[in-house]
Structures are given as C-alpha cells and as structure tokens.
Symmetry: C2
Subunit: 364 residues, 2 copies
DNA sequence: CTGAAAGCGCTTACAG
DNA sequence: CTGAAAGCGCTTACAG
C-alpha cells in the first residue's frame, strides 16, 4: 500500500534554475495567474480575453519557454494527454515475435497520431496476489483513461474503476456487461475456416483447443462448431481440449478414427499449436498430404518451420495492429464523452489461404 | 504551447463513488490527514509514530482500499514511480524486427523489476519543428526521470532539462559533456572485426559507412581504422560513405582494385547494409567465396536472405536489451541521488562468428 | 473582460 | 508523538 510509491532518499526537486510557472508569466505580463491559465488553455467557457492581454501573455510565455506541467494539469481535474496501457499476464511482449507485439504497435501509432502519450503500467507481472493487483490497477488513474490487455484479467479492481467512471477499454472481447472493448470476430472467422475445410471434402475433423476459458477461446469453439454443423462436418467428438503435452496419443487415435483434418488455436501460450505441430512432425506426417491443418489466429512465430512446411499454416489472421488503433480511438471517445460511442467493436479477421489445407488423402 | 494539453469537451473527473483519500482515512482513524501521510509513506525524517496510531491508520487504509494518487504524490514533490522513455526519429519500433525493439524490451523488463511504470512519450514523431520538440520534451517532466533514445537528438530542449537538474540518461553514447549515457563499445568491437578479417589474410578492405555523423558511426569508423592499422590492413581509401543508392559502381571498382573484404554498418535506416547486400546479389557474388563481408551491429532483420547466404553475417551484436536494462538502473541511481553513480557505461558487444568471413579468393 | 479564492490529493517543515 | 498550515502548479466557478 504505502510502498506503491518508492520513497526517495532525498527530494528529487530540480535544484537548478526553476522552470517557469504560470505565476512567472503572470508577473511578466502584469496579469493574474488565473488569466494566464485562461489564455493558455484557449477560450473555453465562453470567456473572451482582450486581444492585447492575450498577446502579452502569449509573448511572455514564449519568452520564458513555458510548457504546462502535465502533473499539475492532471491534478487540477483536466486531462493530461496520457493514455494508460495495462497488460495482464507476462507483462511485456519480451519475445520479438510475441503475439501481443503488433497490438502494442497499433496502440502506439494511434496514440501518437492523436497526440497522446502512453503510460505502460508494468505492475501486472509482479503482482501475484490480488492486493497488489488492486494497487497496480489503481495507479492507472494517473492517465486520462486506460487500455487493458491480456486474456486473464482480475475483475475486481476493474469494476472499481468502472464504478468511479474512469474511462477504459479492453482489447479483446469481454463477457462482463457494460464494459467497452475492441475484439476480433473469432466466431465468424472460425466458422469460415470450418467451411473451407468442408469444401475440400473433409467430414471427420478435430478441433484441438486449449484448456482455457478466455472469451476468445469460447468464441472460436462456437465458430468452429457452427461452421462445421452448417457445412456437413460431423460435430460429435469434434472438440477436444489440451494443455499441449499429450498430443501424440491423440493424433494416433484420430488417424485410426479416420480424421482427415485438424484445427487448432493460437493463444498467448501457444501450447496447443506447438504441441500439435511437434506431434505431427514426430509422426512423420505431412500437411496437407496426410492431414489438413488449420490454425485459428496468427502464430507468434512462423510455425510452419516445425512442420517442415515452407508455406504458412492455413487459417485466419487477427488484425491486432488495427485492434490497437481502434482501441485508442474508442478510449478517446470515452474520455471526451462523445455521445453514444460504439462501445463494442468486433473487427473482421482476414482469411489466410496458407498451404496446409487440401483434399483428404485416399482412405487407408 | 497551449495546445500541448488537449482540451476536454467536458471534465473527465470521475462521477461515481469517490475513491478514498488520505482525509477519509484520517476521519476513520481519528487522526489528521498529515499523520496518515506520515504512516503511509513510512518513517522518513526520523519521525516516530505511536504503534497504536500506525495500526489504526493502516487498518483504515486497508479497509477503504486506499492507494495513493500518483498525480498528487508527484505534484507534492515526491516521486511517482514513473520513468519516461522518449524516442527520437521514427517513434516506435513499428516493424516487429525493428532494431530498437530489444532496447524497449530491456527497458520494460528492468522497469518492471524495479517497480517502475513507463511513460512512452510519443511526441517525437510528430514534432518536425523545434518548437514542438521543445514542448514535447518538456512533458517528460511528468516522470521522475527520462530515458532518451535515438540517433539524432535535439540538443536544446535537453540542455534545458539538464540545467533544471532533471534526471535523464541517453541510450547510446553522446559527445555532449556532463550527460549520462549507456552505450555500446563500438570502438573495441569494430576493431576486433577488422582484426578478424586481417587474420584471414585480407589486406585490401573497404569500410562502407553511412553518411551520418551520429556518435555510433564515428566510433565504428574509429574502431575499424584503428583495428586495421594495428593488423596490417591498408588504411588508405579504407573508409567510404554512402546513402545506400550507389553501391553497384563502387563494388565493381573495389573488385577491380583488388578489394577482398567489405565491412559495413547497421543503423536505424539500414541503408548501407541493404544497399551493399543488394549490390552483391546483383553482381552474382557469394560470401565469403568471392568477397568477405562483415557487419558492425545487429541487423534489424536477418539480412542473409538477400545474399542467398543461409547463415548470419559475420560481425558483432549489440547488447541492446542489456543496454535498456542498464539505462533504467542508471536512471534510478540518478533519481535517487546515489552518490557518485557511474554516469557513463559502455557495454561490450559479443562477436558474431557468422558465415561471411573467410580467406580471400585466389588473385584474379 | 479580469482578479481573488478555493480546490485537486498529497508532502513537508514547523509548532506544539 | 501528532496537528495545523503552507505549498506543489494548475483549473474552475464566482465575483466584480
């Protein structure tokens, strides 16, 4: 609690020439500090300043090299032009090819385009317990609003922000009501993949998903099942769950049962995908010659390598960068109180043709 | 000036249930707000609180879910646990394989490890003119201290921060006196590469550097020249500059003059490297069969591809991630006023053996 | 059209 | 050992 803010060994207040404040300008221009504030922030509440006063103040500000103190500005109940980004789970896309990285890029691009700075709240990684999570989330208020990101999010601290009317948006669909988010339309994209597989003639298919109930996983399963049903793929036994460690045995069983295509999903762990591709490699199978393979989501690293496949894995790609950008825009709408902003946004995923879907092999 | 802070259409102050402040705790615990502040921040100035008082305050704080407001904390002249990161040049490592990305990762890792949040100042990209740069740099004061990063940095706004005693450190060596930085030891690493080439028997070599006078480029040239001189490589005509567009003609000339090895450098533009590898490919040369090739710095993307070379380009790698981490630590030392911190740090670069250095081909 | 005042939530001497 | 006061630099009604 009290350790949220590190304690300085000595005051870190600037020791050299002080930076100019509004009161310095006021003195130089012969007006009050409040007047300086008014001309510097523009003419908002209908207040009209004498042109001559404006000019004097502006000139003094220019001469003194004044720039408003963002901290004081924020404390005085205005905005400070900073957006927060809070990432749950392993904080940062450490791996260059981390699947979250493009989101970060999108967020940064749009923030820059909108003239907003970004605060990266790094609290998530350390905060194992709920208490510190609560503390970490609270810090978020230093910004005008905040983006949340990650599959598993502690509900409680967030609800508190929500109750307080603090503006925030999730990147990724959420089930909690009343929360703004920008997500990917996994249902539609996943259904489309199932249809594509059916069109090649597959009827017995498996969907190997991770043992994880994040909304994204739920949506994908729903899409696969709906797509399969509509396209004539058997739905009995279609869905299986894994942690990634037991795929060899499954694969053998599937082959024996006449399964000709497998769909899996990409998550932040990548467990299902890496487990599956490794098992396929160990079994000496080739895709799509022996088995068609599809992936729901963009792989963090080119996953084809493990398969000996030169091309991409078929499936769809998640518009992560665009999600980041859209989330920033939505957040700004919320902060600005734009009337009836769209609070839920589901972005379409582009199909990835890839090279791993083909017709089923002749029956063994 | 006045547009540095976006103006809100309406106040964004939370409308719902207010978050607890110190005064709320004070009321609940039956003490003054100042006392709350003292127990919450710990016992600094020798003040000793009654254990019973401490307990009451702590319990009330716990019950109310109090977390200090970082903005108010900062304004009241203490630290706020935020470190700034200001990137010059094209703001963000947009490309996944952007050469700056590992630095960002290192900064984030160490910041998280130290319990600091990170403010990404995105101002750099937009700010073409000096004025807005000044404004953008000034915003940096919202943080306890700031990291600067990028080859080309406007001196003026920075000097101002320096005069004011604001703590900051550069990532990358600087020539300006009195400024803290964490850089890479390009001189030593570049000399080592020249020596390695000499050891293979090369005597006539070219160093193709970019037409850019950043300290990193200066250091590399110095290292190459010193290494070459010490190892018996001809230094006359050794160094050439390019913008990347005219390499074909040079390459032909070099070959005619009996040049058997070429060294180039990696920068944020990558112009010299991409120009050179393209020219080598067009000339149908192979490395190191026809020509040995070395690179000073880590390529943003695997550059071997353009060469048809499977392996890495020989040279050295810049410890970017570690630079990021070290910079954070140094900055914290500065902020905390640690006595005589090391203000200049030059990290060693690891040699990359690679596959593009070999003995010279038999004379034509 | 401008000034004086209060307040944002905290820290920090300074008195008691 | 604790309280009352001033102040960080700004914004925002509210008076004149």
């Amino acid at each position: 609690m009290s350790d949220t803010v590190p304690r300085p060994s000595k005051p870190s207040r600037p020791t050299g020439r002080a930076k100019p404040r509004q009161s310095d300008i006021a003195r130089a221009a012969g007006v009050s500090q409040a007047t300086v504030s008014l001309v510097l922030r523009g003419t908002e509440s209908g207040v009209v300043l004498a042109a001559e006063t404006r000019r004097r103040v502006l000139r003094a500000a220019e001469e003194l090299g004044y720039v408003p103190d963002p901290v004081a500005t924020r404390l005085a109940a205005a905005r400070n032009g900073m957006l927060g980004l809070y990432t749950f789970s392993t904080t940062f896309p450490t791996d260059v090819a981390h699947s979250y990285y493009p989101v970060l890029v999108g967020v940064e691009e749009e923030a820059a385009a909108q003239g907003q700075d970004l605060i990266l709240f790094t609290g998530a990684s350390r905060a194992a317990d709920t208490t510190s999570h609560a503390a970490a989330v609270r810090r978020v208020r230093a910004a005008d609003g905040c983006l949340f990101f990650g599959r598993h999010v502690p509900d409680d601290p967030i609800r508190r922000l929500s109750d307080d009317g603090f503006p925030f948006v999730y990147i990724g669909r959420r089930d909690e009501p009343g929360i703004s988010y920008v997500g990917a339309d996994y249902v539609a994209a996943s259904a489309e993949v199932a249809v594509r597989i059916a069109e090649q003639g597959h009827r017995r298919v498996r969907y190997l998903r991770e043992n994880d109930d994040a909304p994204a996983s739920t949506d994908r399963e729903r899409g696969v099942v709906e797509g399969a049903r509509g396209a004539g793929i058997e739905t009995a036994g279609l869905v299986e769950r894994t942690d990634g460690g037991d795929v060899d045995a499954r694969l053998a069983r599937w082959r024996d049962a006449g399964v000709t295509a497998v769909i899996t999903e990409e998550t932040d762990t990548g467990a299902a995908l890496s487990g599956l591709t490794a098992a396929i490699a160990r079994a000496g199978l080739s895709c799509p010659g022996d088995l068609s393979l599809a992936l729901l989501g963009t792989p963090a690293a080119p996953a084809g390598a493990a398969l000996g496949t030169a091309g991409e894995i078929s499936g769809f790609s998640v518009p992560m960068r665009e999600m980041g950008r859209a989330a920033v825009r939505l957040l700004l709408d919320l902060i600005e109180g734009t009337p009836t902003p769209r609070r839920h946004l589901l972005l379409a995923c582009a199909p990835v043709p890839g090279t791993t879907i083909g017709p089923p092999p002749p029956a063994r």
